[in-house]
Symmetry: C5
Subunit: 365 residues, 5 copies
């Protein structure tokens, strides 16, 4: 199998930053913080119970309000967060506190679980790999969970939730006969599965590096390691707060979450813990690889330097001897013996070989 | 966008220090610890409920006392902490324990939350960027929260609270119809937003460095990294105890804080946690950058040393050969062949090229 | 005693990875995740109480269902997890939630304890050394504990539980008169004993290295250390989540676990804690060994470089002197004294010896 | 301001050590462990309530016994711990368990809080700077707090408590109208203030080093850093257990400590936490300084080595050329052209300049 | 005072290891795990109350059984653990669960506290210095604490408990009038005192090294540091689990431990915490020493290399100049001036001195 490729989004770390004008705003001001990723706002609704199923896309949010009174499970999905008026309407139409929608509009907010009188707000970062460019995109997902509705907010069109839609359409008993809490679980489960999927792609590259490192450490290994480290940090930075969020979620004692479904939320926790463990292992592997690389490189350099130094040292006395007999003293008896030149060569060879033997014996090369 | 600049205050770390004479003072002595930053003390009052609004600056603290009996929300702001008499008057006039005002006067105190019989004391460090010099100033902010009053103490005139004043003036329903606790939240929110704002400015510089580092690591990078590290430490040193303080605040079970407003205090906590996470990420980035820099520099040095050593080594045997034929022995047969000199050159070139090939093959350069 | 050898499995770290098609599956889908390790599925049953004992292998799972109604303790062992139909039958026949068997089929799942209405699910990784190849195999073991049955699931035929079977057969009073909880303990005890056993084999190699390191550090030591580190990481990666699982198990307040047996589960905890401590110690030892190795190597290299440099330095002035008297100036008075040549030698020897003395005195070699 | 100097005590770390004969002693044996620091034992008493004040020094401990029955607050200070008989008398006279006085006599004991039936025992290390020698002394302070008495034990005459005595004498209302718990707080407050004071002196030296390091890193910087590190470790080693002790104290639920005074004990905690934070910051600063120093030194050395190597390399081909024309071949045509010598110089200069340009271009110096 | 010496036992770390045949044993099998250290098993009994005292050595364990019914405190000491029959007898005779004695026989078990129906089991490692060889021995001590009996198990004859026996014999009121819990405390106290004593001996060596390191760092320092590190690790490895055990002991809420004696168990905790702190400090000291050593060595090497390189560099241009005038060109005008040779010397001296001045100025040596 060819290792799939991934690349980081353009601004991977999405560090929170505040503009001067944002300071001091009222906490429930409906102000969109983030980069607008879609032009139009799309509204889709799936309404079902174990028997009936209705799917349609809405032109106007007002069409969705009646569903909130129905006993059936209704999943309203909103793609695009930048329209304050729409948010105001949602707040009024579904009788949600404005603060909730203000939080939804802040795409830089930390993954969080908040319990309100009539609903629970859950938000998490979605990682998604663009199938064409392999570039990962980060998107903020907010879920508002009420008795009979689940409203999901995404920054732009296109998501990873098609398997859930399929399960609903195919009348898989479990999902059709459960409430909004199970639906929320199903969505979060996919989000975390995508963390693991993307982590797995990176992992394969790291494991491949492991082998190539032992065979022949090239100089660009270090760049590769740094790239992977950066990519891993990116994933970890998203896993860590998601993990805290999931933990809060399992501890949440809300009437909106059925006791029977708690086991699923604990399963989410197991999954994200496992993702976290794996990312820890990868980090250790990268750190070990870096050490191995440095050790190999420095040991190789030492070998070169040692070789070259020994080489120089062997010639130093030879050159000295030649220098001696290049002097122009009137009286240098050795110069006039017939075999002096050959003797000089002999001495030089003996000196050189002697030094080689000495160095070898001392285990210097 | 041009990256805005920041610079640290003159004494950024403001480490606690005690003078000999301060040791052993009574804990409720009204003694000003810190640097006097303003000459005059300014007293301003804003009194409001959902209908009326009154704003004025006071000549005398006694003018403020009647407000403490009114049902309306009153925000008394005091700029300047060095006047022990005034503090004594405030203590008496508002029936506050003297210990509270003694704590207010200690500008080196740690951010803290303390609950008293009739009030809550909150203190935090304010970071503020001077718009002209870009220098950050640190100021101690203390808030005394009673049933109907919020007394804020600052070290000098000028603050970051204008957005809140605007919201009060413009009759934003939320703030005008809430109590002193919401007002306190609004002020703390701005303080923390400023942490994030300043962190963001530093962050942009660090991210810019990231790129330039990969392109061309210059020697002054290390100085830049050290500067940023120092600046980041400065911000972290302020975030850390503020975070502990906010945590205590959310856990505080005081009648003065309305249950409905608890969600806002939890939001404060989310914000400061996010600021903390981001500062952790920046620290890791700086540490990674330092590693990359060192690796790059040392790898470059190794390349130079290797090149130069190899260069020397190639000439060593050549010089030796020349030395041999500079000797003055009577009998050196080679000297007398007609083409010896050219042969010597040939041998030398063969030796040099041979060594180059050998080194290349061994992957030494 | 000759140190036994071990080697890691082919894919030792078994990092969780998800395929695209696995994302979004229903949590109770009976989907086998892992590598199929056996062709056929084997079903064995041991049924006993303090008096009677029955052992047989089943052709059909339906034969096992009646045992679930019997008062006796029944241990059903299933080798092979890939058959979804069988799992479905087990779920129906023993009235177990399908989610349980879905978890059993996921061989990549994290060791876990989950309490259900009528049973407890325990899963752990088994490490086992193949007696022929010395290669370690990792296998997922799941135990379903009900009032009168213990169902164990393994990935393939062959296990480490023969001592327990022997104890049952030999009518060891303790095990024959206890319930399924004690049987589960006995199995987990063996799994952990195998961790310790394998850790011990690795430990002996590390301790042997310790000695050889002090005697003569060879270059391949570093490879050995890296190998051991990898092997130790592998074991640690299995111990860590097992430890968490055992801790949850001791905290479990289930009716299925008798109070009298709690002491045994605490003993499990002691054992795994001890294994963990030991693995920590080994890690420290490896890290110390690495340091000692690096220190030794670098100190040796420094010695060589120092020696060689000093050697070169001694010849430098000598060669210079020879060079001086190789010049062809018309007037070089020294050239014409009769003993000049001998004096030159004398000076050279004095210079060389003087430098040696100087270096020795400065403690440079 | 001239930075005040401090120096460590002779045996700064005062590590616990046991002599053979001390092993196995009964825990309430009145055995003095430590170095006897004073010849005579001094007994002083201050007895006061909000109206009256009595101060005297005692010849005999028996004179103090009646005070334990009085309603007034009595502070008995004992300088010198080596007299087992006196301790026995105190134990009997004030009806204190002998174990308490046994702990008091162990000057190596860890700072601790222990609650007994009729009293609370608090012990802490006092750091004090000798005004003449600037040497810091460490002394064990034990406080026994009963309903109406505070007995303080010090190792030798002379302490830091004069400000408290002054406050008592000057009839500062707060201290004169409070009980023994407030008096204990006042003493502990001074002890911690002294920690901060001494930490501040060290801090100024570290901050001064920070600046000088950036200007001109000298070799003795490393010795200075090591000295400061040692001094900081010394202070930290005393702060750490004191901090634990203060924490236990604030958690203590004793009738002997008035609810109103709990706020003061929390203040102690704030102070010691702040001292701890500051010492952490100083430690980081020292560690950063060490890094900067090493980076600077190694970068400087690299520059030197590079310069010198390049210098050598430039001369190598030049010397080689001269060697070529020093050969004595019969036929070396170049030797006989009239301008050969000048051409040789030209070639040499071209080679040297060419190499310099090449190196410069490659950014090697 | 001459520093006493210590040396580690032959197999200091006593890492747990399992033999193949030990895997899968029943937890209450009476199987001796460890090295048999004594041939015979010795049984001694001390029976006392505040009035009477009886001491004798037993031939047969059955002689001890009647004591278990007596009201007096009985201390039964067993030296030697390898006799399964004896253990079986003890189990039956004193009505102790067999599991307890199975744990006692496992000398590799982790220090532990276990509460049973009628007794408490405490086990800890004893460190003891052989007075002749200075070698430390590690021995497992198990204490079984019942209402009226304390049974202590040691691996071999000879222990550190003579001071306790003396205190019992001399009718020290405290120990004679207390129960078995106080006796157990007294024994554990001695064990911990021995930790501190041995730590103190090692500490003195480390502190001595500290001084010698600053004066003259020799090469064997590194070996010494490694030895001490190893010895410290050995002690730490024993302190750490003992500390956990003592903590469990203080938290134990058993009727067998009198409330009055709880303060003594807390004292144990203080002692072991202090030992732990001290061992932490020593570890830091060793780590600092290692750093200082490396810094010193590398700085010294750098000095040497710099000196030698500079030395070489000064001669390089001089040798070049001599080379120039060793050429045999027909026309080298300088060769024929009368003072050329002296001028050459002059130039050489000027060049050499000039370079020295330049290097000095650049602060290179």
């Amino acid at each position: 199998m060819k290792t799939p490729k991934i690349s980081l989004p353009h601004n991977p770390f999405n560090f929170i930053k505040k503009q001067k004008q944002e300071i001091g705003m009222s906490p429930d001001a409906l102000y969109f913080r983030g980069v607008r990723k879609s032009e139009n706002i799309l509204l889709n609704i799936i309404d079902f119970d174990s028997e009936a199923l209705e799917e349609k896309s809405l032109q106007n949010i007002a069409e969705a309000f009646p569903y909130s009174k129905k006993e059936t499970v209704t999943w309203l999905n909103v793609d695009g967060l930048h329209d304050a008026d729409l948010m105001k309407n949602i707040s009024d139409g579904f009788e949600l506190e404005q603060l909730i929608l203000s939080t939804v509009m802040d795409t830089q907010a930390r993954p969080t679980v908040q319990e309100f009188d009539n609903c629970v707000l859950v938000s998490i970062k979605m990682l998604q790999q663009d199938p064409d460019t392999n570039r990962i995109s980060v998107e903020n997902l907010s879920l508002i969970l009420t008795e009979s509705m689940l409203i999901s907010f995404q920054e732009k069109k296109g998501d990873v939730f098609d398997p859930v839609r399929e399960r609903i359409r195919k009348n898989r008993k479990r999902i059709r006969s459960s409430g909004t809490d199970y639906l929320a679980f199903a969505l979060l489960d996919i989000v975390i599965d995508n963390y693991i999927y993307i982590l797995g792609i990176l992992g394969e590259k790291i494991e491949a590096l492991e082998e190539s490192l032992l065979v022949n450490p090239k100089k660009d290994v270090i760049e590769e390691i740094n790239t992977y480290k950066r990519e891993l940090n990116f994933i970890r930075k998203n896993i860590k707060p998601a993990r805290e969020m999931i933990l809060s979620l399992t501890k949440l004692d809300s009437e909106l979450i059925d006791d029977d479904n708690e086991i699923h939320f604990r399963e989410l926790q197991d999954n994200i813990n496992q993702a976290n463990d794996t990312s820890d292992s990868y980090r250790e592997m990268l750190s070990d690889q870096l050490n191995i690389y440095h050790t190999t490189i420095s040991s190789k350099l030492n070998d070169i330097m040692k070789f070259l130094t020994i080489f120089s040292v062997i010639f130093i006395p030879l050159t000295f001897i030649a220098g001696i007999y290049g002097t122009n003293f009137d009286v240098v008896p050795e110069l006039h013996y017939e075999y002096s030149y050959y003797i000089m060569w002999g001495v030089m060879i003996i000196v050189a070989v002697g030094m080689l033997i000495y160095f070898k014996k001392k285990d210097w090369f």
